[in-house]
């Protein structure tokens, strides 16, 4: 508390704080509450508590989350994409961080600048430009050589590329920041004691970086799962969850969308809490 500040006005303060908390939580609360409402649409009035939107099946007249094949399929698609994105982002991020913090070469400052570029390009533009380039290449390959390069058409490979293009940059920033704080003397000591560069990396650097790598992977996984702007244009006939939900929401959603949203919130909250606990404090 700063002593000479004018005395705070407790009533006004509490009212403002309450209003702010309401602003933060009201949207999430209605999503959660209407996942359990006994009605075909997520809106008041409240008609009673049911679990139909989770476990209902066609025989009961309501297809719940667990029976909704298309929805479950899009969750699986998202999970596959997110695994690839997390793996690739952390691998590329580690390589780039190592280049920035431990290597000396001509053009390093250019590389450092280039690594920030993905973070200032709007996600929609990343998607649009990648789609345009890939389709162009696919078209040329088809016309000139009769090749059918399916992976360059909208679909999962392009979604993964689009998401990696900026998430690897986020991973680079995080990993480089951690690597900066590792005393290079430790690696030198390992080499003085006869360790090769690989052994030094494996026994000194990797254990030191591991918490950061895990945290970066979790963040990349969650961000991939939730990404919409880049994914929208790049996804084809098997859309990931967010694009699928967007389609349902525009059509006028049933509470199944609430049910899956609630599970998503709980899952990412759990992941966030678990990684927060493991992340070392700076």
């Amino acid at each position: 508390m700063i002593p000479s500040l004018e005395p705070p006005r407790p009533v006004l303060g509490s009212v403002l704080l309450g209003a702010f908390l309401l602003f933060l939580f009201a949207p999430l609360l209605v999503v959660a509450v209407f996942a359990f409402n006994d009605a075909g649409y997520p809106a008041p009035p409240w008609r009673g508590f049911v679990l139909d939107w989770f476990i209902g099946n066609a025989a009961r007249g309501r297809v719940g989350l667990l029976q909704d094949e298309a929805l479950l399929g899009s969750i699986a698609t998202s999970a596959v994409v997110a695994l690839w994105v997390a793996t690739l982002s952390v691998t590329l991020g580690t390589a780039a961080a190592w280049l920035l913090e431990r290597m000396h070469f001509a053009g390093k400052s250019l590389l450092a600048a280039l690594l920030l570029v993905p973070l200032v390009i709007p996600g929609v533009i990343l998607g649009v430009s990648l789609l345009s380039l890939a389709s162009g290449i696919a078209q040329v390959a088809d016309e000139r050589w009769g090749l059918d390069l399916d992976f360059l058409r909208p679909g999962l490979p392009l979604v993964i590329c689009g998401q990696v293009s900026f998430m690897a940059a986020i991973a680079t920033l995080t990993i480089a920041a951690r690597l900066k704080r590792l005393d290079p003397g430790l690696e030198e000591a390992a080499r003085d004691l006869g360790a090769g560069p690989w052994t030094g990396f494996r026994t000194i650097v990797l254990p030191y970086l591991r918490p950061t790598l895990v945290a970066s992977a979790v963040v990349a996984f969650l961000m991939s799962f939730e990404n919409f702007n880049t994914t929208l244009l790049l996804s084809g006939s098997d859309p990931p969850l967010t694009v699928f939900l967007y389609g349902r929401m525009r059509e006028g959603a049933t509470p199944v969308v609430n049910a899956v949203s609630l599970l998503l919130m709980l899952a990412s909250a759990l992941a966030a809490v678990l990684t927060r606990r493991r992340t070392p404090r700076p």
């Binding site: 002593p3 000479s4 949207p27 999430l28 590329l92 973070l119 533009i125 649009v128 293009s165």
Partner: protein, 290 residues
């Protein structure tokens, strides 16, 4: 490169190759290609020629540049609103709240970000649409005769944008407030300053880097957003990303879409550049703050 470091050289190549494939293949070449595409014009028989027709189309068709200006102004407005809300909140967390209250406030700020933007938009839709919670309550309480439609207004879009980017403003602000020495505030009051003069002469100058960092990120997120404006603004959103998407998907006019994409990139980069120049910061520092 030091002599006798052949292994190091190999290591450099092995590390550099994938990073360059990523940066050139997924970022640089697609952007250059986008710029090239935007300078093409398709003739009647499908042949292509270099031209500025796509950009001319942007300026001649008022619905395009109107949407562009609208997106820029609304994004600036959203950034300003986010700053106005985030400032006292961050101040409270950094300087007033202590111990458990502080911890819980941080958790409360983080919770909405455990939900995806899709879920957050769904929440606002359920709250605000005509059959939704708030209008129905207003009608039931007798405050209005009929449940009003609260979706599809500009204010709704702003609310959604502020909500979705709040954390990106609060985090850098907490960062700069924490490094502000309380003794400076004391001194300001001792020298006869009041709340406002202290805020203006002490707090704001000290917080400028954090304010700039937050504003840059929030503006970029708003200008490039698609989900929140289309879901909360419906057909009246006229957000520029929607115009781009429309050219690519609905009209299959990719050259026009490429030109629009590039114009959005220019807008976003220009604002970032101005904000950096105004506060004398470098991009790297800004991105590390958030």
């Amino acid at each position: 490169m030091k002599a006798g470091s052949g292994g190091r050289y190999l290591g450099l190549v092995l590390l550099l190759a994938p990073v360059l494939v990523w940066l050139l293949g997924l970022i640089v070449i697609p952007q250059v290609d986008l710029a090239y595409q935007s300078l093409q014009e398709r003739g009647s028989s499908g042949e292509r020629a270099l031209s500025l027709a796509q950009y001319r189309g942007f300026f001649e068709e008022s619905q395009y540049w109107r949407s562009y200006l609208r997106t820029a102004l609304m994004s600036l407005l959203a950034t300003a609103c986010t700053l106005l809300i985030a400032f006292p909140v961050a101040w409270h967390v950094a300087k007033v709240a202590r111990g458990r209250v502080r911890l819980w406030m941080m958790v409360a700020l983080l919770v909405p970000f455990w939900a995806s933007e899709t879920v957050r938009s769904l929440g606002w839709m359920l709250l605000l649409r005509e059959s939704g919670v708030l209008p129905q309550w207003l009608a039931a309480a007798g405050l209005v005769a009929e449940a009003p439609e609260l979706l599809y207004h500009d204010a709704t879009i702003l609310t959604g944008l502020v909500y979705t980017s709040l954390l990106f403003m609060v985090v850098p602000l907490i960062g700069v407030f924490e490094t502000l020495d309380d003794a400076l505030l004391e001194a300001s009051y001792d020298l006869g300053g009041n709340r406002w003069s202290t805020l203006w002469h002490i707090v704001v100058p000290h917080a400028a880097p954090g304010i700039a960092a937050g504003c840059i990120v929030v503006f970029m997120l708003a200008v490039g957003n698609y989900l929140t404006p289309t879901l909360l603004g419906g057909n009246s959103a006229h957000w520029f990303t929607e115009v781009i998407y429309d050219q690519f998907i609905v009209r299959s006019n990719w050259e026009q879409g490429a030109a629009f994409g590039l114009l959005l990139l220019v807008l976003s980069s220009a604002v970032v550049w101005v904000a950096l120049a105004l506060t004398g910061q470098r991009l790297g520092q800004v991105l590390r703050r958030t």
